[in-house]
């Protein structure tokens, strides 16, 4: 009996159990609720750190439970799994602080924080899954537990947005289920293996392998907001800001992107996907999504909607990196899981601050907002510049490696996509920055709240500053051994190539 076997399970439980208790807490128990939340987070962070050190030293963490005959429920902490787990748990911590500031005191907090923790449980479960069926289970739990958060406000608008979200994601889930069962019938295994396991059937079932891959991409593409399956994401912005920040910018869409990474590298394997001539179509779809998302973002006046379309575009960098099919590009793509995460969460928390403190929801209302809320706006600007790809912020690293990788694999056309999208990013972010810093503020803000010491509540102010700081140092200290990029290097060496 080895304690290491159970650590992946403990990670899951340390967010799941607090979630269950929080559901039953009465509305008034602020302190206990906060304590439970933080307790769960610290347990999670502790176990994740433990596993990080262990995996670095080649320790194995594998938990198994028989689910069906021949199929296990299994969790495994490999390098890639931990990368996503680490991202989710750290950002969970920051967002929870933010959410406490944002929502505590408003109605139904127990329900909110319960489902919030449940979403994190599901995301971490997605990250740690060691086979497709476990992945599918957590993936669907994530779908479901995000639903009450979208309709949290209980308005007719949010109900409709929630329905649309479900329609997309459940349909995607159905395609995925079909793909998984089909694959299982053919291969009789679903275990993620480095370099894939589909090669055993690809000779005999050429067409089926292609179909299954397409089903997987379509299924994951819904959550990863690939064009034309992205329609739910901008609508889901009716949810409270912390939800948009963590779930729609990080957890849910990343779960889709992460699924595509798993399928390409550890179910099919790069060689088989290339052999089936499916890499280029995937790269093309990703490129179309990058450009399309940016174009749509350009015409949104609602700040959160603009950010949402920007997410649509940015998440596809990850998929593009995977689809270019070279180690360097893959590095750029996978590291973007973290880079996009910290930058986008900064932007969303900034937008939340503007809405909560000043009642500003539209870009046209943002004139001179940098003078009223300088710290928030600094964080927002770092995020925005990072998205455009200005060195030394994290986003630059991604684009650098993507570009290099593309040249490496002889796919020069990708450079045009990168250049075009950077240009578009600049076109929709720079006007915001210009308005905020250089125009003069209006006589009065739509719905201003005054805080005597700082520009807004401290719990709302600190989280975006921290994530902005992360976006900076991830770019600045990219060559240090503990930077995200170095860890990605480890992933690529150990698991992919």
């Amino acid at each position: 009996m080895n304690v290491n076997t159970y650590i992946p399970l403990f990670v899951i439980l340390s967010s799941f159990v607090p979630a269950l208790i929080i559901f039953r807490l009465p509305q008034k128990r602020h302190t206990l609720r906060t304590f439970l939340n933080l307790f769960g987070i610290f347990m999670t962070l502790f176990f994740v750190l433990w596993m990080f050190i262990g995996v670095y030293h080649n320790q194995e963490y594998l938990f198994r439970l028989p689910l069906l005959p021949n199929l296990d429920f299994s969790l495994k902490a490999g390098a890639l799994a931990l990368f996503f787990t680490g991202l989710s748990s750290i950002l969970w911590f920051i967002t929870t602080i933010y959410a406490i500031g944002y929502l505590e005191g408003s109605a139904h907090s127990s329900r909110f924080f319960g489902f919030f923790s449940l979403c994190i449980t599901a995301t971490i479960g997605v990250a740690l899954s060691a086979n497709l069926i476990t992945f599918l289970i957590f993936y669907e739990i994530l779908t479901l537990s995000a639903y009450p958060l979208i309709i949290h406000r209980g308005t007719e608008e949010s109900r409709i947005a929630g329905n649309k979200y479900l329609f997309y994601t459940i349909a995607g889930g159905a395609l995925l289920l079909l793909g998984v069962v089909w694959l299982y019938v053919l291969t009789e295994t679903l275990e993620f293996t480095p370099k894939g396991f589909v090669y055993t059937i690809v000779q005999e079932h050429h067409f089926a392998s292609m179909m299954i891959f397409t089903l997987f991409i379509a299924g994951f593409g819904v959550k990863a907001a690939l064009f034309p399956l992205h329609g739910w994401l901008p609508l889901a912005m009716v949810a409270p800001a912390p939800v948009s920040a963590l779930l729609h910018a990080v957890a849910v869409v990343k779960a889709g992107a992460f699924g595509i990474i798993r399928v390409v590298y550890e179910v099919y394997g790069i060689e088989i996907v290339t052999l089936l001539h499916l890499m280029t179509p995937l790269a093309v779809i990703a490129s179309i999504t990058i450009i399309y998302g940016s174009l749509r973002a350009l015409f949104q006046d609602n700040l959160k909607r603009r950010l949402a379309f920007s997410t649509v575009s940015q998440v596809s960098y990850i998929i593009l990196g995977v689809a270019i099919a070279g180690p360097v590009a893959a590095m750029g793509g996978i590291v973007h899981l973290v880079h996009q995460g910290v930058m986008k969460i900064t932007l969303f928390m900034g937008a939340g601050n503007f809405a909560e403190t000043l009642g500003v929801h539209y870009i046209s209302q943002m004139n001179g907002i940098g003078k009223r809320m300088p710290l928030t706006m600094v964080a927002f600007s770092i995020g925005a510049l990072g998205m455009i790809g200005i060195p030394p912020i994290a986003g630059f690293i991604t684009k650098w490696y993507l570009g290099f990788g593309a040249l490496d694999s002889g796919e020069e056309w990708v450079l045009f996509i990168l250049a075009g999208s950077s240009l578009l990013n600049a076109a929709y972010f720079l006007p915001i920055l210009y308005r905020a810093w250089f125009l003069s503020p209006p006589q009065s803000w739509p719905d201003e709240q005054i805080f005597s010491k700082t520009e807004t509540k401290l719990s709302l102010l600190l989280p975006p500053l921290i994530t902005a700081f992360f976006s900076l140092i991830f770019g600045l200290f990219v060559a240090t051994p503990w930077s995200p990029l170095s860890w990605v290097q480890l992933i690529i060496e150990r698991e992919f190539y």
């Binding site: 689910l67 739990i141 209980g154």
Partner: protein, 480 residues
């Protein structure tokens, strides 16, 4: 001996609760606790000895009556007793004094009939138990004292009598042709002659009527939706499965050798798929909660027959799918009906768009509905998911893409109707509604049933090994 007690205990419990109405609740609940206990003992015995026959009074067939216990009957008995106990606890608070006078007696008779059915090994006994179950469920449906309920009960009565009559004709033909009603003896004697085919046709019509396979589903929505909540629950959960169970037994031991399986494979697949689509669409457009749930049953019966069809086609995993779907549907659907009963009591109506913030005001009931919905849709990880997984595996193995697509489409439509309800539990209505209090046990029972439906997802492996005792699907397994 335990198996005899399983029949006698609820029977005498029923009589006793009629004689001493003052203690009917205690008698009823006590009976169910004992029954559950006995089923547990039966399970232990089965694990120890394997499947076995019991000759009542020491007389073997054809003179005496045989009871037979194997994994399948154990699973069904277990389901009946779990449902029986939890619905009784619910009903204790649900029924007012006058109704409760009749309820316990008829209810216990019905359970006696169900237990006897799952233990029978004899086509005439199947008929007797079917009648007992049918008549008592009609009486229970009529218990709710509204005009709708009486219409529903009347229709139900006619259908159930018609169904039993068809079945009885088939029994008579088989008895005439082969001189026995015992399944084991019949299976040795039966051969492909016209009388056997006629019996097969008549019995199938009768039983399909009772299990409400599309297009014979027309009586179901009204009967199931107008009955009192616990009765709706047992009707959807166990009663319609009883006639399916008889078909399972008949096919696996009598009809496969006739060579009719090919026709029925196509027939079941076709009508099963239609039922899934039609039932789900009808559920989606309902404005009343109980009607929606009742139409969802129509769709779920379709899944059962799709599984049946795949199993007849020789895919052994489809049997597991069938049994799993039966169990998870029973638990989830009864949870849904009980939640509907709670809401009906709470608001005095069950209009879906006026659910008015149930998510905050009755969180336990809403959770129960959501969890049950997860299992009905077949999302992981729940009993419904395991059933659907096996069903998909079977249909893909058979390369039957029409059925595969139907299964997936049915899941999407089910998401539609489940979340249609859940969406409105968050919103607020423009007008204020008077509400009544609901006792905690009425909220906890559906929640625990729904949790059981979810938990089924975790215990697939042990349940399968339990089900396989005595190899209930033996004959079909040896087919190529």
């Amino acid at each position: 001996m335990i198996e005899v007690f399983l029949i006698l205990l609820p029977f005498f419990g029923g009589i006793l609760s009629f004689i001493i109405p003052k203690f009917n609740k205690v008698i009823g609940l006590g009976t169910f606790v004992l029954t559950l206990f006995f089923v547990f003992g039966l399970g232990l015995q089965l694990l120890d000895k394997g499947s076995y026959y019991h000759f009542i009074g020491g007389w073997d067939a054809p003179l005496g009556i045989n009871l037979y216990v194997d994994g399948l009957s154990l699973v069904m008995l277990g389901l009946t007793s779990v449902m029986g106990l939890s619905l009784s606890i619910y009903a204790k608070k649900y029924f007012i004094c006058k109704q409760s006078l009749w309820f316990w007696t008829i209810w216990l008779f019905m359970i006696a009939g169900l237990n006897a059915l799952f233990l029978s090994q004899d086509i005439f006994n199947f008929y007797v138990t079917l009648e007992l179950i049918g008549l008592s469920s009609v009486a229970l449906t009529a218990l709710s004292d509204t005009k709708e309920a009486l219409t529903g009960a009347m229709r139900y009565l006619l259908i159930t009598l018609l169904g039993s009559l068809f079945y009885l004709l088939g029994v008579a033909l088989l008895y005439h042709g082969f001189g026995s009603v015992d399944i084991v003896i019949l299976s040795k004697k039966i051969e492909s002659i016209p009388v056997a085919w006629a019996a097969l046709g008549l019995m199938s019509i009768g039983l399909l009527l009772k299990s409400a396979l599309f297009p014979f589903h027309f009586w179901l929505p009204l009967a199931h939706s107008s009955a009192p909540a616990p009765i709706s629950a047992i009707l959807s959960a166990v009663i319609i499965k009883a006639s399916l169970y008889i078909q399972l037994r008949l096919w696996s031991s009598l009809f496969i050798p006739l060579g009719a399986d090919l026709y029925f494979e196509v027939l079941f697949a076709f009508f099963g798929s239609l039922a899934v689509i039609w039932g789900s669409i009808k559920a989606l457009v309902q404005t009343r909660l109980k009607m929606l749930i009742a139409y969802s049953t129509v769709a779920q019966v379709g899944y059962l027959f799709i599984a049946f069809s795949l199993a007849l086609g020789g895919i052994s995993i489809a049997w597991s799918a069938l049994v799993y779907l039966i169990l998870s549907h029973a638990l989830a659907k009864s949870a849904m009906f009980l939640v509907a009963g709670n809401l009906l009591h709470f608001h005095g109506h069950d209009r879906i768009i006026d659910l008015d913030r149930i998510a905050q005001r009755l969180p336990l009931s809403t959770t129960a509905f959501a969890l049950a919905g997860v299992s009905i849709i077949g999302l992981p990880l729940s009993g419904g998911f395991i059933g659907k997984w096996f069903l998909l595996e079977a249909s893909i193995t058979k390369s039957n893409w029409v059925i595969t697509c139907t299964i997936l489409l049915g899941g999407l439509l089910a998401t539609g109707y489940v979340f249609k309800v859940l969406g409105f539990t968050f919103t607020k209505t423009a007008f204020s509604q008077e509400t009544k209090n609901i006792s905690l046990s009425m909220e906890l029972i559906p929640l625990s049933l729904a949790i059981m439906a979810i938990a089924l997802g975790f215990f697939a492996t042990p349940l399968f090994s339990l089900m396989e005792i005595g190899n209930p699907f033996f004959i079909i397994r040896v087919q190529p």
